[in-house]
Amino acid sequence: MVDPTQAGMVALGAGIAVGLAGIGAGMGEQAIGAAAVGAMAEDEKFFGKGLLMTVIPESIAIFGLVVALILLFVF
């Protein structure tokens, strides 16, 4: 267990994990999202594939979220 006086640090760590991971995922998604919209402008059938490609970097955000969850609930 974490020392009660350090509990705030755990919360901070969780916040940083989610926040930075989110920024990273966003940076990845911006390029893919732009390309996906471009592809869709050419052919609307790319909607499904584009949407799927766009969420691929979302893993990074989810890893951050998982780290935060482990910090908050497991430790």
Binding site: L51, I56, E58, I62, L65
Partner: protein, 656 residues
């Protein structure tokens, strides 16, 4: 299930006089996937289209043009046309339609052009409202030059320096100063220079019209109104034509498409001066039907042969074959890629895993019920096609979400069963939770993060292992067992070995106790993993070591099942807490702060849950699909098969 439909290669040969009968029989059966004949030789050439082909396609062209002009949309058929009556009507009706529609659309376009013209004139006339002259007073002079325009500064001093012989009118239009300057043509150059030096000067053109601006404007406006009325009248005439003929147009379109398809079929055959040969594929179970029908209709004049010689698997068309409930999931497979003939068709696996992942993520009774209702509405609206398949997938997922909602004890984020939170009992809607098979409900998501995280990772390991097993089978069938062991067996060993080792290592590291190297599970896992890595390097080269970490990230990726669910449940909880504790039931008293604030609370509840519901359809759907595509399919799926496209037509608006 799991394997694409078995196909048989058929070659059909006959004399040219029965070609038409053969074509229409095959077209009606709608089972033969024709392989186009491409290599011309001395004896056999690509066939020529039947006679009516050009006529039919001409009709089709004009019909499509008409339907475009009328803006006819595809819709579900109200009644079916018999194809007996259509041929006699097509010629006459299309000619009349063409006359009626094209004359009207031409007129519409002309009217639109004139309206535009008049409107341009109107906007050109308007500025002259600010000046006290009739329009014909601005032009037609031989020795006088006229400058009408906008200007902000006073130009009179400048002009009077050039000449005293001028006339200047000034006024205002829409808060901008407007002027008209009349000077003798001899001073044209100087005045031009003066004006150009003024930055605020903007020239305006005088429309060549006669009379006072207000009167002209009045006349123009009346003309535009009249034109618009005519426009609307023609539009409504076109609408009534559209209403009357839209059924016919769609039926005729279908009839003509079918006839064109039939007439152009010989382009895919090999023909000699007197005979033809059709090469193609039929689902094996349908071969007897095609044989008996063809022989019957042609009086035994046609010859069919089943070809058993080995062909390239790539030439075989793929039709996925799955039992009813799993059928809609073929959509998800085909969106990714069509499998090859000898590959496993994973639709049946996705049928189980997709709704399961979706439900574990969404897991709320209320949301599940609403999504199910939405899916039912879409399903009833679209009886066929992709949207129908999608709605069935969603329906199944939603029903399963309700089940998981019970397990988690969540109804729009409210607790369904009593549960303990930080030592206090939170009362649920249904009171104490039941115990099913030793499992005491609810297993609340916020309370059991550790357990659920472990479960999702186990799901991931099992799912990936299943993918590797299928990949093993695919490679064993396509190449041999040895290849399969190097390419997939090695990964299985690494996965199992890694899992065994980590399951022992992690607890030891967490509790800071010495690593129990003598533990048989840890040692066995390590050995298995190392053997796997060695096999992998031998099979795929040293570079494959770089791929090892992807296995870890693949497994961790399944933690999204928990993460997405927690975020959805978290939003629901936040909305509920906000609305209930602050507005509807402050300090534990219902309507404690008056009815208006309580109503605001209801609005917050509604909007919050609506947003969460939309996210709840999109998030779990996409992420569940992603786990299939990225984590699962990459372990075995190559794809690249040719889709089975039988020669025929699914009639919608006509019947035979």
């Amino acid at each position: 299930m799991l394997k694409p439909t078995k196909m048989t290669r058929v070659v059909i040969a006959g004399t040219k006089d029965i070609m038409e009968t053969t074509i229409s029989t095959l077209h009606r059966l709608n089972v033969l996937h024709i392989t186009d004949y491409t290599e011309e030789s001395v004896d056999f050439r690509i066939g020529k289209p039947l006679k009516p082909a050009s006529k039919f396609s001409e009709y089709l062209l004009s019909l499509r043009a008409i339907s475009n002009q009328l803006g006819i949309m595809q819709k579900e058929p109200t009644s079916k046309h018999g194809s007996k009556e259509l041929p006699s009507q097509v010629d006459e009706k299309i000619t009349t339609l063409q006359k009626e529609v094209s004359s009207r659309t031409d007129e519409l376009r002309a009217i639109e052009f004139r309206i535009k013209e008049k409107e341009d004139l109107i906007s050109a006339v308007k500025p002259f409202f600010g000046l006290p002259l009739a329009l014909d007073e601005y032009y037609g002079y031989e020795t006088v030059k006229v400058y009408p325009g906008y200007i902000d500064t006073d130009i009179e001093p400048g002009i009077s320096k050039i000449t005293k012989n001028y006339e200047l009118f000034a006024g205002e239009h829409e808060k901008r100063k407007i002027f008209a300057l009349f000077v003798p043509k001899v001073f044209e150059g100087d005045v031009q220079k003066l004006l150009q030096e003024e930055r605020s000067y903007v020239e305006i053109k005088v429309p060549e019209l006669k009379g006072n601006p207000p009167i002209i404007l009045d006349g123009l406006t009346k003309e535009v109104t009249a034109l618009r009325e005519r426009h609307a009248a023609i539009k409504s005439e076109l609408d009534s034509i559209k209403k009357e003929y839209s059924d016919f147009i769609m039926a005729a379109d279908e009839y003509l498409s079918i006839e064109t398809q039939k007439a152009e079929a010989p382009l895919r055959f090999a023909t000699s001066p007197n005979a033809f040969i059709i090469d193609g594929w039929v689902p094996s179970r349908k071969y007897p039907e095609i044989e008996s029908r063809l022989l019957e209709n042609t009086g035994g004049m046609v010859h069919l042969a089943r070809i058993n010689e080995k062909t390239d698997d790539e030439d075989i068309p793929i039709e996925l074959e799955n039992p009813g409930p799993a059928k809609p999931f073929e959509l998800l497979i085909n969106t990714f890629a069509t499998p090859k003939y000898k590959e496993i068709d994973p639709a049946a696996v996705v049928f189980i895993t997709f709704p399961l992942f979706y439900a574990i993520m969404l897991g709320d009774i209320g949301y599940g019920i609403i999504v199910a209702i939405m899916a039912l509405v879409v399903k009833n609206k679209f009886k066929t096609g992709e949207l129908n398949a999608l709605s069935l997938i969603l329906l199944l997922s939603a029903v399963l979400s309700v089940v998981f909602g019970f397990i988690y004890g969540e109804f729009f984020g409210f607790p369904v069963f009593n549960m303990e939170e930080e030592g206090e009992i939170v009362h649920g809607i249904l009171g104490a939770g039941p115990a099913i098979a030793g499992l005491h409900l609810p297993i609340h998501r916020f309370g059991e993060v550790q357990l659920l995280l472990l479960i999702t990772l186990i799901i991931g390991i099992v799912h990936i292992f299943l993918g590797l097993v299928i990949g093993f089978r695919n490679i064993a069938v396509e190449h041999d067992i040895k290849h399969a062991i190097f390419a997939k067996g090695s990964w299985m060993m690494i996965l199992i070995g890694g899992v065994a080792a980590i399951s022992k290592l992690m607890p030891a590291m967490m509790s800071k106790s010495p690593v129990p190297l003598s533990d048989p599970i840890l040692a066995g896992g390590l050995v298995l993993g190392i053997i796997g890595v060695m096999l992998l390097i031998k099979g795929e080269g040293f570079i494959s070591v770089l791929e090892l970490p992807t296995l870890l990230s693949n497994v961790l990726s399944y933690s999204r099942i928990l993460a997405i669910g927690l975020s959805s449940a978290g939003i629901a909880l936040a909305v509920n807490t906000l609305a209930m504790d602050l507005f509807i039931r402050p300090d534990g008293v219902y309507l404690g702060k008056g009815i208006l604030l309580a109503l605001a609370g209801v609005v917050i509840l509604f909007i919050g849950h609506l947003i969460n519901l939309l996210l709840g359809i999109l998030g779990p759907g996409i992420h569940s699909l992603r786990l299939q595509y990225v984590e699962f399919f990459t372990k075995f799926y190559e794809g690249g098969g040719k889709k089975y496209a039988p020669f025929g037509y699914n009639r919608k608006y006509t019947e035979e």
